[in-house]
Amino acid sequence: MEDILNKYTTTELDNVKVWFKAALVSDFPVDGGACVKYKDKQIAVFNFNRTQTWYACQNLCPHKLEMVLSRGMIGDQGGIPKVACPMHKKTFSLKTGENLNGNLEAIATYPVKIENNIVYIGFSE
């Protein structure tokens, strides 16, 4: 069970080795998220259209280990961009991965870049 969690580790911008071409900007909902498949990983990608910023994190909610975060609602708490899991409304910072309303393990986050209307996610492998 832990194995599936261990698949996901935060990738810092400096450690990016692969920029994975995920999909077109227009494939993603405005002010919402969608899930990207990369190898055997599921990555949730969020489009904060109000500020033209993008975030990515594991799709796996560490609470019950279900692949659902991309379907969660996004927003902010005191300026910190966050996602609320659709299962039990656990919220996570999309900057640090930290669980904002509980003591769950932090989720892994990944860098995102947009070039020519294409969304890329950064991985270290």
Partner: protein, 839 residues
């Protein structure tokens, strides 16, 4: 640097660490904590919740990382075997030696297992740790495979025993409680309240056996098969949970020759020091004033005193009198006792209110001069507990007729006791020892500006949570006294209430979330509270379906389906009034079979198909729609169903056509989005087979028309709907309902159901009649017109979605692949399937 070793990582041992690191001058100390159990300290008080969700992490007092972050060394799964007082060292089970300057014994207690013959048999458990619970669950699931009607007994009808009884029910076994005394909860309740509790528990399916002394445990092949109380007096059970009291884990004190109590426990003084001044004992292992205190609150106080003493604050002492008041919810039944629950007649008078039909019992004990409250017992309804407890603790004056304290508030009469009357030293949160003064001053100094702030500053309400309503009242009263408007804002992004936002959106005609937050919000992106609210308001006003701006909809609305435990969805087509043709039933069956969906009839007389993946949702709905079905809005904060009995169409008692009228109402209000879900019911006669009085609106056919009931619900706080109008015709019913629902949609708080809204309306039902029947506010025409507009604009949102390729894009698990979620695992169950259980 001095070293404190804490032996025991239970609730009290943890609390010692938490209190200690929060104090000044603690940086010269290092804390090492030993726990015998494999996991860090967890909330044993709420242990029975483990049966509901099997989530051990949710019970944790703090995660492992908390100890690290605070420089505390936590060593779990390690028992300490010896204390060498002269060397000031301890030895662990793996024979490592650690030196200490101060030692804190917080070893707690273990379950007492009475010496009954056969107690070693398999299937006999104690109820103490998560490991015990895991053992029970594994055993119970084996049992149920062999015998789905297996029985399990709990030995002990005290507080913990009844909790264990709940656990047995949750495990799906037939529950039996066996108690030696002639009543349940003998330590907390008198005979009459105990009987009321017993009646209530029996009514929900617990079998209770009193005055039973167990002679031996019967068995076969080493497994328990029953309990024998006397000759020919046998209870056949296949599992037994012993909950017959606790014994302090005092063996370390005994082996290192600390002063011990005659019947166990390590003797401590009011500094929590044992007979060795460098060794402290706290919690259930400590014998203070010749007593072991099995409650969390005194344990926490002991932890605080010990921490202060070690830091040299010698004036911090444990008080002589320890408050043993408790309030808890046992299997959904409120039980509370405070002060002296059983008082001899020589000391005062008792006032008793008892209603066996409603399983209610209230007793208060009043001094002979009638001036002070000495104690009491509440069963069935403990809403008065907080106030009574405060009056008792603070010796506050009581009304001339003390019966007012427990009698239902009479018409127009002000209820006695207001939080603001409490003295500053009144302890509001006894788990965390927080006084009224401390709560109010966090607001007065500006440290906190709302309830969340007060809770994080003071920790009030973070223990058992029982004082939360009082903390909220105090916070609001203090804010009001300071002239600060109590924020009714829906979240950090809006200072406006739902009602204000409703008016603004209606007047300004906004149609997007961005317009609303840009013009009336506090900046930012919004959040999971305000986005769905604004979506719901725009829908209530403009008759929008959830397909419009789907990213701001609640996540169920976004996918027009209810998300289930493994991230798949359920599909519920509308079956108005529960009437369905055989052809449609066959269609449902065929579709369910084709997509391999788990199928169940819902509580709202329709059929639920579970286990659809995101990709399957539109495919399934396309087929359903082609057979004449439409969305049932089972996912929405909107009308669910109007349940009907068969009525005069077939029933020989029916007074009117309940099915026809139910269908008409369901079709009228379908798709209308409200602050919360709405359910209706229509019964053809007073036998009430449709359970209409348990719904937001209910109709019962009587001679000469319909009786209309409003504001009922099931749920966590069941409430019967109130009789609003009698013997009215169909047309009047619709007129009143249009007005009622629209008025509710305009003025309720977010996620407030009609029952809670109606209860908090100033002026109550009479006011509602004034508004809806007498048109006191002059708004009924508007209400009716608004409702009629919504009715006219209805459109099935699933039909919309499956006919629009752009909308269909939403229903893919991946944005860059056609594959399905590979994390889904189903297991078989009773010829169907279910998601693999959560670990």
């Amino acid at each position: 640097m001095k070293t404190i070793i804490v032996i025991g990582n239970g609730m009290v041992g943890y609390k010692f660490c938490e209190k200690f690191i929060a104090k000044n001058n603690q940086s010269d100390f290092k804390i090492i904590v030993f726990g015998e159990e494999p996991r860090p300290a967890y909330d044993r008080v709420h242990l029975s919740e483990f049966f509901e969700n099997q989530d051990a992490k949710a019970l944790e007092m703090a995660p492992k990382s908390w100890y690290e972050d605070n420089g505390i060394e936590l060593i779990t799964h390690t028992r300490i075997t010896d204390i060498h007082r002269t060397q000031k060292t301890i030895t662990s089970v793996d024979e490592k030696v650690y030196s200490y300057d101060y030692l804190v014994l917080a070893t707690g207690s273990s379950a007492f297992v009475p010496p009954i013959k056969g107690v070693e048999k398999k299937g006999v458990f104690v109820y103490r740790t998560i490991e015990d619970l895991e053992g029970m669950l594994a055993y119970a699931s084996q049992l149920k495979k062999k015998n789905p009607n297996a029985r399990a007994a709990v030995l002990g009808g005290g507080l913990l025993g009844l909790e264990a009884g709940k656990a047995v029910m949750d495990m799906g076994l037939e529950p039996h409680i066996v108690e030696f005394a002639p009543k349940l909860m003998p330590r907390q309740l008198d005979s009459r309240s105990s009987q009321v509790l017993q009646l209530k528990l029996e009514s929900i399916g617990l079998n209770i056996h009193l005055s039973k002394a167990t002679n031996q445990i019967l068995g076969n092949d080493g497994y328990i098969t029953g309990m024998e109380f006397g000759e020919d007096d046998v209870l056949n059970v296949e599992m037994l949970i012993i909950s017959a009291g606790i014994r302090p884990r005092d063996e370390l004190g005994r082996t290192c020759d600390l002063e011990m109590g005659v019947r166990g426990g390590i003797v401590v003084n009011n500094k929590m020091q044992t007979s060795d001044p460098n060794i402290y004992a706290i919690g259930e292992v400590a014998l203070y004033n010749h007593m072991i205190y099995g409650l969390v609150a005194p344990g926490y106080d002991m932890a605080d005193v010990a921490a202060n003493q070690i830091l040299g604050q010698t004036e911090s002492l444990m008080s002589d009198e320890i408050d043993m008041s408790t309030k808890l919810k046992l299997i959904g039944v409120d039980v509370a006792s405070f002060g002296e629950p059983f008082m001899p007649a020589s000391k005062g008078h008792s006032i008793i209110f008892e209603n066996k039909t409603q399983h209610l019992y209230k007793r208060i004990n009043v001094s002979l001069d009638g001036k002070s409250l000495l104690g009491g017992i509440l069963v069935g309804d403990a809403t008065d507990y907080n106030m009574l407890h405060q009056i008792y603790l603070n010796g506050m004056a009581i009304p001339e007729d003390p019966a007012q304290l427990i009698l239902p508030a009479s018409e127009g009469g002000a209820s006695f006791g207001d939080v603001t009357d409490l003295p500053d030293e009144a302890q509001v949160c006894s788990c965390e020892s927080v006084t009224k003064g401390q709560i109010c001053s966090t607001i007065e100094n500006g440290e906190a500006t709302d309830v969340t702030g007060v809770i994080s500053c003071t920790k009030a309400g973070t223990g058992c949570g029982g004082c939360k309503p009082m903390v909220t009242d105090l916070t609001n009263a203090t804010l009001k006294a300071l002239g600060i408007e109590v924020k009714e804002g829906v979240c950090e992004h809006f200072d406006l209430s739902r009602q204000d936002l409703y008016k603004i959106i209606q007047v300004k005609g906004y149609t997007t979330f961005n317009e609303v937050i840009d013009n009336h919000g506090n900046g930012g992106h919004g959040c999971e509270l305000c986005k769905p609210l604004v979506a719901s308001l725009m829908a209530s006003i403009n008759a929008d379906t959830a397909n419009k701006e789907y990213a701001i909809q609640d996540s169920n609305d976004r996918f027009l389906a209810n998300i289930q435990r493994n991230g798949t969805y359920s599909v519920v087509p509308r079956v108005p009034g529960g009437e369905i043709t055989p052809d449609k039933l066959i269609a449902l069956g065929k579709i369910a079979k084709k997509y391999d969906l788990y199928t169940k009839v819902t509580g709202g007389v329709r059929i639920d198909l579970f286990g659809a993946t995101l990709q399957q949702l539109p495919l399934i709905w396309k087929e359903l729609i082609s057979h004449g079905f439409e969305s049932g809005h089972a996912y929405g904060k909107s009308l669910r169903t109007v349940k009907t009995c068969v009525g005069s169409t077939w029933c020989r008692y029916g007074m009117d056509e309940s099915v026809s009228f139910g269908i008409e109402l369901e079709n009228r209000y379908r798709g209308i989005r409200a602050p919360h879900k709405i359910k209706g019911g229509v019964s053809g006669c007073i036998r009430e087979c449709a359970e209409a009085r348990g719904k937001d609106f209910g109709l019962i056919a009587v001679e000469g028309g319909w009786n209309l009931y409003l504001g009922g619900n099931g749920g966590a706080t069941p409430r019967h709907a109130e009789l609003f109008a009698e013997q009215i015709d169909n047309e009047t019913v619709i007129k009143y309902l249009d007005r009622y629902l629209m008025f509710y949609m305009r003025t309720a708080k977010p996620l407030q159901r009609t029952a809670a809204w109606q209860e908090r309306l100033e002026g109550g039902l009479d006011y509602l009649k004034d508004v809806i029947i007498e048109d006191k506010l002059g708004i009924v025409d508007d209400l009716e017109n608004e409702m009629q507009t919504l009715v006219n604009k209805f459109e099935c949102e699933w039909t919309q979605a499956v006919n629009d390729p752009e909308m269909m894009k939403r229903f893919n698990h991946f944005v860059n692949s056609e594959e399905e979620d590979d994390n889904l695992v189903f297991v078989p169950m009773r010829d169907q399937k279910m998601p693999e259980p959560w670990k």
